[in-house]
Subunit: 171 residues, 2 copies
């Protein structure tokens, strides 16, 4: 039952978000690098890697304004991210399909995180931080929407390639 | 470049989905059991546990109709699920907030999986299986929507409780 001020919680969640974006950049870079036969997906992920790195810098600025420092990845969060990472990178025969599902899930964890951050920033009276998080949230929602809109095309292409002799389907 | 028929892929994805729902039931049961101060969330998760168990049975019937058997959880999928599970169950001071984010993410991995399954079932000419997956998809979307709609209330309550002397916020 430790009491914690909203400002303290805000700083902790910003540090979590920073770690989350660091790991997202690693995961998405690896994923984009392996895709060969789904060029639209590859290109959208690469664009999101660029956004993700800018988000990290915006979060770092907020953390420093609140008197904190950017963290090493926390253990519990790191375990979850590493598993996401492994799932995206794995040797599964349906790598592109699983990667798409994992990325879509990951975007929604980010969406939930930024929605919580916006509330925490407002409760702590930090409108400036809330605005940064609102801007990042829009980018995460746009990425999630893109994945939702393009999933069917990717999956149909995967199924067709997998059933065709002599072509690679998985990435 | 192994060629695989759409019927074979459909069976593999049904088996993945079965494993996913088994793990979801475990994770959600543990999560609901720990929640004390967020009764609406607890009750909605309990309702979804019931749905999840019924979904497993519907998937098992589809798998058996296709001549397959229900699997032990696959390794890659199991690693991911175990990490989700650990994140939901952890000793984090913001357990309810992280659990909400992880559940929201998990629902979207399920949504992506059932969308892929519906396409695979249609490509394999199994309208009956597509219909089962469409029914399950609606339940997953309803759960995801509920979480999105109730997140702000849970988070504001969490932030208020955490800043208040003598009350527990985390679950």
């Amino acid at each position: 039952m430790t009491t914690r001020s909203n400002a303290e919680r805000l700083l902790m969640w910003l540090q979590d978000a920073y770690a989350m974006e660091q790991e997202a950049a690693t995961m998405l870079t690896a994923m984009a690098g392996r895709i060969e036969h789904y060029p639209e997906l590859k290109s959208r992920i690469e664009q999101h890697v660029t956004e993700t790195k800018q988000q990290s810098e915006r979060l770092r600025a907020c953390i420093e304004q609140l008197g904190g420092s950017t963290p090493a990845v926390r253990t519990a969060m790191a375990d979850l991210m590493a598993a996401f990472h492994a799932a995206g990178n794995s040797l599964m025969s349906d790598e592109v399909a699983k990667g798409l599902g994992v990325s879509y899930a990951f975007e929604h964890m980010e969406i939930a995180s930024y929605r919580s951050l916006i509330l925490a920033a407002r409760e702590a009276g930090r409108v400036d931080v809330a605005e940064v998080c609102e801007a990042i949230l829009l980018e995460e929602v746009a990425m999630a929407d893109w994945l939702a809109e393009h999933q069917d095309a990717v999956i149909v292409r995967f199924l067709q390639r997998e059933a065709t002799e002599g072509v690679t389907a998985k990435h």
